[in-house]
Symmetry: C2
Subunit: 325 residues, 2 copies
């Protein structure tokens, strides 16, 4: 099942069921007005939404043409966004860029931060930045959305709480981050609003690419129309999603609609390219002695997308332009 | 105006107007079902709620008796919780306890972290902890709630965005925090769900104690029935609320219903006592060579309250017991 949110003028938009090929959409206010409402009562809502989905795919009901530019983020306001950093080749390279060490504990204790969840950008909303000297970078990630997760959930138990998946562009302001991290309190200014992909999908949509814990497909990032990276999201992920959920729920429950991010998808093999600019800059320093690639400029575009083994877009594409605000 | 949320069985509870003396309450579903709904349209909702409040105080309408044990947090689910750490005597003492330095930048650059906002505890909900070896501590704070705050708001502009105030118990697990802070990514496991006071109030309820930026009243914390501290929230606050809001909004807008915390209220003069246990422990180390006071134990109770100059409770009391879960 695939779901999206129409930007209908209200704060949370209008929930829609979208067909498998991302061509047609059906608003479903008779079931739930918003994705959060559906997640609040997922056990009873999901079968009703699934029926609409099957009818839409089967041509038994007619949808309206899906216009991606009219979509809000599937969850425009969320109550929680916990972003892991599960690909240690990303962690290692970003730390190298900051001149920071890679303590051995990071192999067993996940990095995770509480992100701003009050405003997710839609898939085509611009990245608005007041000053391009902030060092604007994209970060392409996979994210899961849970139902209510009890405190102390184990990784094995956490699997059944993964209800939906999508992609996120976790935009980062590289030049503001070092001083924030030095304070220890995480990111406030260094991470502006993140963008979500056009649709969220249930795990069954991924077929064999979803093993219950990781997504075994490449995640493609394009910068100004050129492929920048296509690392495999199923490789080199040191902590899988159930482990990340368990980490987040060690001392508190997580409410339905919690987003858990993978962290920037990154492979040890750098020939796959990168899901963020800073990793390329670090490799340039190592290979050539200096970073050559600049961060994003006003007018730059980033596109993030994941295709299935037949080349069909699973979540639709995040496609954002950077603008001055 | 004072507002509370009845725990009516739904996820967000039911909004109620409460009289000035915290005796009577009137559910107001005809105006807004929840506090978030009211905050979403505050400019039009606030006058309607204020009318009910005046009628209730004037005895023109009858309320039901306010039962604090039936209250949920005023905002049980919130989209954003940004907690500052504006009292530097607290910061300095907590850092001493961890053996950490106090860099001079902390006098000009506020400490702030993104907290978990998906589940605020009601004023009498227990503090549930799986293991008392986590080092359970209370932290008594003042918090403001904003309407929509635009990106880049200045401190002067931020004043008008403060719509409501209340108290928070920002429960902290001291023995989990050092390793989290060392990672730089802020608190995930070290800060379980925080509790809010019974009611939120509009700034005018504070009279001359509110200067538009700080609350000039003592905040009293009782531990197992004994006064533990009564520092003045208006003294030694290095960054006032408008400055904290401006800091949080430097690179992103903040949505209506954002909570901004003061950090643990603390005075340089330690004879006023403390709003958290760790500060007393540090002073014991300095004065006596070793920390004597333990952290909270199962069955312990903490009470946090602020009275006006006539001794009337402004927000009602947070009163929590620590339990094993």
């Amino acid at each position: 099942m695939k779901l999206a949110t129409l930007d209908s003028g209200s704060r949370d938009g209008t929930l829609m069921v979208v067909d498998r090929d991302l061509q047609w959409a059906v608003p479903v206010p008779q079931i739930a007005n918003t994705l959060q409402e559906a997640l609040d009562e997922w056990a009873s809502m999901a079968p009703k939404l699934e029926n609409i989905y099957q009818s839409l795919n089967g041509g038994e009901i007619e949808g309206v043409a899906l216009e991606v530019e009219q979509l809000a983020a599937p969850l425009r306001r969320a109550y929680q966004w916990l972003d892991g950093s599960a690909y240690l080749s990303h962690v290692e390279r970003v730390r190298k860029a900051r001149g920071a060490e890679m303590p051995p504990s990071l192999w067993t204790d996940p990095l995770m931060y509480q992100g701003g969840s009050d405003h997710f950008l839609g898939p085509q909303e611009p990245i608005c930045v007041a000053d391009d000297a902030f060092g604007v970078d994209f970060e392409a990630e996979v994210v899961v959305i849970t139902d209510d997760v009890p405190l102390g959930v184990t990784p094995a138990q956490a699997r059944s709480h993964i209800k939906l998946l999508t992609l996120v562009n976790d935009i980062s302001l590289r030049n503001l981050i070092p001083s924030e991290l030095a304070k220890g309190f995480g990111f406030v200014q260094g991470k502006p609003a993140s963008a979500l992909a056009p649709v969220v999908v249930t795990p069954d949509e991924l077929g064999p690419a979803w093993d219950g814990a990781k997504v075994h497909l490449p995640l493609r990032t394009y910068w100004n129309g050129k492929l920048f990276g296509e690392p495999d999201a199923g490789e080199d992920m040191q902590f899988d999603f159930p482990q990340l959920i368990s980490h987040g729920a060690k001392t508190r429950s997580l409410i339905a609609g919690t987003l858990i991010g993978s962290g920037t998808v990154s492979n040890v093999d750098w020939h796959r390219g990168y899901s963020c600019i800073v990793e390329r800059r670090v490799m340039e320093i190592i290979e050539e002695g200096a970073a050559v690639t600049p961060f994003m400029s006003y007018g730059d575009r980033v596109r993030i997308e994941m295709q299935d083994s037949q080349g069909r877009s699973i979540f639709g594409a995040i496609e954002q332009e950077m603008r001055r605000c």
